[in-house]
């Protein structure tokens, strides 16, 4: 399959905003669940403005890595630093402050199903950022929903949304607090190719607009190609290859090349 980049994607790719400043740094990360060692020795850096793609087979611990970054899981060994702060060492209040700078898009969207889209978006604004002015709330909700192309869904319940709309609403919910880092857990999984392409474009568009740094876990090579500045490949709890999409596409390693078979 030959993957063609749209004009829009080319435009955003050309304008990559990667800098030398490191925003996430993971060293010698190890995490076990019972007897199973999921992460063996993870080393990773994310620069400001960079889009980092993590590829790997299912069950290799890709999601566990980003859950350690956001403090949902505690590493057994190693350090996880975000903005030079060691996440496992942070107090509850410090972790809460840090989380306001990190957006996490879950695979399922994870919209609160007892609330409308608007209430979903307002949830963190009113409770974490303590925005009380209804006019400001309305304006920010409207702005971010227009950004993700979902203004008509403002009063809908999550159960009334399609898979793609849920992803967009989930993305809007994370972007509304203006995070500096975005963590995407398989943002295009379960979507048709056209919607997947739209979500990939949206990721680029939102990165440009909100100037975020992103770690994107995906199996969608089209998404990896158009959104990623750098790609990491994970195998058995370790990163075994690193480079740009084009570099890894030409790799001599059979395992690495296996990911790119459909893209050549």
């Amino acid at each position: 399959m030959i993957v063609m980049e749209t004009e829009k994607q080319q435009k955003y790719k050309r304008e990559s905003t990667k800098t030398d400043e490191v925003v996430v740094e993971i060293k010698n990360l190890r995490k076990c669940f019972g007897e199973k060692e999921v992460l063996k020795n993870i080393n990773l850096t994310l620069h400001r403005g960079e889009n980092l793609i993590v590829l790997g087979r299912s069950g290799q611990g890709k999601s566990v890595t980003i859950q350690c970054i956001v403090g949902l899981l505690t590493p057994d060994e190693g350090s996880v630093k975000v903005f030079d702060k060691d996440v496992p060492e942070l107090s509850n209040d410090e972790l809460k402050d840090l989380r306001t700078k990190i957006g996490f898009l879950f695979q399922s969207g994870a919209l609160y199903d007892s609330m409308t889209v608007k209430e979903n978006l307002e949830f963190a604004l009113t409770r974490v950022l303590k925005v009380k002015d209804q006019q400001e709330l309305d304006q920010r909700v409207q702005e971010v929903l227009e950004g993700v192309g979902l203004p008509e869904a403002i009063d809908k319940m999550p159960s009334d949304l399609s898979g793609g709309m849920r992803k967009r609403a989930g993305l809007a919910r994370t972007l509304i607090v203006k995070p500096e880092i975005m963590l995407y857990d398989e943002p295009t999984t379960g979507l048709d190719p056209i919607t997947s392409r739209e979500i990939s474009e949206l990721i680029l568009e939102m990165q440009k607009k909100y100037k975020t740094s992103s770690i994107i876990i995906t199996h969608d090579m089209d998404c990896a190609r158009v959104t990623g500045d750098r790609v990491l490949i994970m195998k058995d709890g370790e990163y075994v290859a690193e480079g740009t999409f084009e570099e890894l596409q030409k790799s001599d390693d059979e395992f690495v090349r296996g990911f790119f078979l459909d893209t050549i």
Binding site: V70, G71, L72, K96, D97, R99, T100, I102, F104, F106, Q107, S108, A110, L111, Y112, D113, F123, A124, R127, V128, R173, T174, V177
Partner: protein
């Protein structure tokens, strides 16, 4: 022991969140409506039948002793002190604890609780505090209402065979009761309500990720909450006996 430790940590998170400010009033009111109002019909029907059946069962025995006139006294003492609060709490454990366990369990499975956590919000504040306080407030109210409906059920049963006026019946019912009957019953229903909310939230919040665990959380919430109700009741009776008799 690990389970006890986890429950203690969960309980301390609950109390920390209660006193950390930013109480979720609108969610609390919504939960009171869901837990209280939506349980009214079930509690009313079962309480009415319970009062009715108790009179029908008690009557032949008391008639043998020539103590038929003691029927309203006997019913009111047994309903207010013991049967009313316990039956209402057991019904609430079946309806409310399972519903909370399933709801929070499914939120856990679909990563909604994680999403709240990573947004920097406190899921315990929003989901747990509101539900536990709502059950703590609503179960005593439901039990009081259930007690009254049981007595009304008893009045109807008594009028199947005997002729007693509404006023005389209730005068006899309340004449048999004093402060030491009302207060312990009220206090124990507050603890019943707390236990129902706490167990439902704990089981849901700590369910594993998988659809099967939602069912397990709901089932386990009912069984554990019911056991807690009987345990609290046993303690309450012992304490009441020590204090008043």
């Amino acid at each position: 022991m690990e389970n006890v430790g986890d429950q203690t940590v969960f309980l301390s998170r609950f109390f920390r969140s209660v006193f950390s400010g930013g109480f979720e009033w609108s969610e609390f009111v919504r939960q009171c409506y869901e837990i209280g109002y939506r349980s009214l019909t079930l509690v009313s029907i079962t309480s009415f039948i319970m009062g009715l059946v108790l009179i029908l069962q008690l009557r032949p025995t008391l008639v043998d002793f020539g103590a038929e006139s003691m029927l309203p006294h006997t019913l009111s003492v047994s309903v207010i002190r013991e049967i009313g609060p316990v039956i209402t709490a057991i019904i609430c454990a079946g309806k409310i604890a399972s519903s909370i366990g399933a709801e929070l369990g499914s939120m856990k499975v679909t990563e909604q609780i994680d999403a709240m956590e990573v947004s920097g919000a406190n899921p315990v504040q929003y989901l747990v505090v509101t539900r536990i306080l709502a059950t703590t407030c609503m179960v005593p109210l439901l039990a009081m209402m259930g007690d009254m409906i049981s007595l009304i059920g008893g009045y109807f049963a008594l009028n199947f065979t005997d002729d007693i006026s509404f006023t005389l019946y209730f005068t006899k019912c309340f004449a048999a009761l004093d402060f030491t009957d009302y207060l312990p019953a009220l206090v124990k229903t507050i603890f019943f309500g707390f236990a129902i909310g706490f167990v439902g939230c704990y089981k849901g919040f700590n369910s594993n990720k998988g659809t099967e665990s939602v069912g397990l959380a709901a089932n386990s919430a009912v069984v554990t909450a019911s056991l807690w109700i009987f345990f609290i009741d046993m303690l309450a009776v012992q304490i009441t006996n020590l204090l008043y008799y």
